[in-house]
């Protein structure tokens, strides 16, 4: 299992632009927002936690179809399916690899982008924490969506349509944690709920993803 993780990490890094692309997209979205809503710092301050969350979410979404599509195309997925590894473990590791190479950089860069959006000082910590707790759910749910659209030629758009509604609870609680943190309020309940979703999804969704992958490999 570790071998698969290392392999995917190496592939992501060598793939030229791997996690850089997600970061660049995150930056672009963050930069575009003030152009869209106006530069008043009071307004930006209000919406900063939400924008950072949405930017991170969309950046995650972008790199999701690569998780499985590449292995599908060169036949590696067939071989992985016949290997001693359970398919559930394979999808879990793929989600983990996605999180490490795409989501984690976003989490770490978010405070820097927060500066651009006049994020209040109290907000920095909570943006990072909420993203760190919530992005695993995004990776796991995204892997499920990628599995559903694995064989399809233009699966990317359909995958977004399937995955975005599934992202709503995570986004709601994650952004709530970030917002409350920025306002200096207690974040306990949304944080608990966010963590609950992440753990629940990590524990259960790989089974659904593996089932879907098996169906698509038939």
């Amino acid at each position: 299992m570790r071998a698969l993780l290392y392999r995917d990490l190496i592939l992501a890094i060598r793939a030229g632009g791997g996690f850089g692309l997600g970061l660049a997209f995150f930056l672009i979205v963050t930069v575009l927002v003030p152009f869209g809503v106006g530069p008043q710092s009071t307004l930006l301050r209000e919406i900063a936690p939400g924008i950072l969350w949405i930017g991170a979410l969309l950046a995650c979404l972008l790199s999701l179809d690569r998780i499985l599509a590449l292995d599908w195309e060169d036949g590696s997925l067939d071989l992985l399916a016949t290997a001693p590894l359970p398919l559930e473990a394979v999808v879990a590791i793929k989600a983990l690899a996605h999180w490490i190479t795409t989501a984690l950089p976003l989490v770490l860069v978010a405070p820097v982008l927060g500066v651009l959006l006049n994020l209040p000082a109290t907000g920095y910590l909570w943006v990072v924490i909420s993203l760190a707790v919530g992005t695993p759910a995004l990776s796991v749910i995204g892997t499920f969506g990628a599995a559903l659209t694995a064989g399809l030629k233009r699966g990317g758009l359909l995958m977004s349509l399937l995955v975005l509604p599934l992202y709503v609870p995570t986004l709601i609680f994650g952004a709530e944690v970030a917002r409350r943190g920025a306002d200096g309020l207690t974040v306990q309940s949304p944080l608990m709920l966010l963590a609950g979703i992440s753990f629940g999804v990590m524990a259960l969704l790989p089974f659904a993803s593996a089932a879907v992958l098996r169906i698509n490999l038939r």
């Binding site: 499920f144 559903l148 659209t149 399809l152 699966g155 359909l158 349509l161 399937l162 975005l164 509604p165 599934l166 709503v168 609870p169 709601i172 609680f173 709530e176 309020l185 949304p190 709920l193 979703i197 969704l205 659904a208 089932a211 879907v212 169906i215 698509n216 038939r218």
Partner: protein, 242 residues
């Protein structure tokens, strides 16, 4: 006689062919009566004026939007466990009906709310939940359309329905949290049930039953179409092989 007999496509079509005209008649009767009574023969509400009458469409369509998804969920489970094609095709047939019901609920909800709120849309928990439900419907329908192999499509969409249902429930609570959050009580509550007195109740019930029958009629009709389409595809494929 077991319900599972109707898992046979031919038997399903034959039986529904016989039953369908009656369902349409009943549907027209209840829905027609309900709506006409509700719109023309009940007094205006002293607070909300005549726009409240839109609840005769709004409430039943909202109910059907949810019921359609529940029916799809049950049908998906039946497909996963017993692999009856009729079940999978019934879920496929019901989805667009459910989606349209959701849309009707959203639009009529907006119409109802407009005089009260002054805007055409408010991110009220209920409307928002229905908007999310609409997106789930769209995704489900899109997945059916995207996959060529019928059996694979049935398998994938049924799993999507299962996972989606869990997330739909999760979203409902999340949305309530999101819009109530620190606020005590609902700011914009559409708790129509509490506002309805007897005078409004009967036509409302009739409308609900009417919409229910409409769903059943459309469901039967569209499932038949799906079955026929599937049969045609299978026959063409076999012909190609011979």
């Amino acid at each position: 006689m077991s319900l599972w007999e109707y898992a046979n496509p031919v038997k399903f079509i034959r039986t529904t062919d016989k039953v369908l005209p009656w369902v349409w008649v009943l549907c027209a009767a209840t829905l027609g009566t309900g709506l006409i009574w509700g719109f023309f023969f009940t007094p205006d509400d002293f607070r909300m004026g005549s726009t409240v009458k839109i609840i005769y469409i709004h409430v039943p369509s909202a109910l059907m939007a949810i019921n359609a998804w529940l029916m799809m969920l049950v049908a998906s489970l039946i497909w996963i466990v017993r692999r009856h094609h009729v079940s999978a095709l019934a879920a496929r047939a019901a989805a667009p009906v459910g989606a349209v019901m959701t849309l009707i609920a959203l639009v009529t909800g907006a119409f109802w709310g407009q005089p009260m709120w002054g805007t055409w849309w408010e991110w009220d928990p209920r409307l928002t939940s229905f908007l999310i439900l609409f997106l789930f419907y769209l995704g489900y329908i899109a997945l059916w359309e995207a996959i060529e192999n019928d059996d694979t499509a049935a398998d994938l969409t049924s799993i999507l329905c299962l996972v989606g249902s869990v997330f739909a429930i999760l979203s409902r609570y999340a949305v309530h949290f999101w819009n109530q959050g620190l606020h005590q009580g609902a700011t914009f509550s559409l708790d129509k049930e509490e506002n309805i007195s007897d005078v409004f109740w009967y036509p409302a019930v009739l409308s609900m039953v009417g919409f229910g029958r409409l769903f059943v009629a459309l469901g039967f009709f569209r499932t038949q179409t799906e079955i026929r389409a599937r049969l045609t595809r299978a026959l063409l494929a076999r012909e190609g092989q011979m």
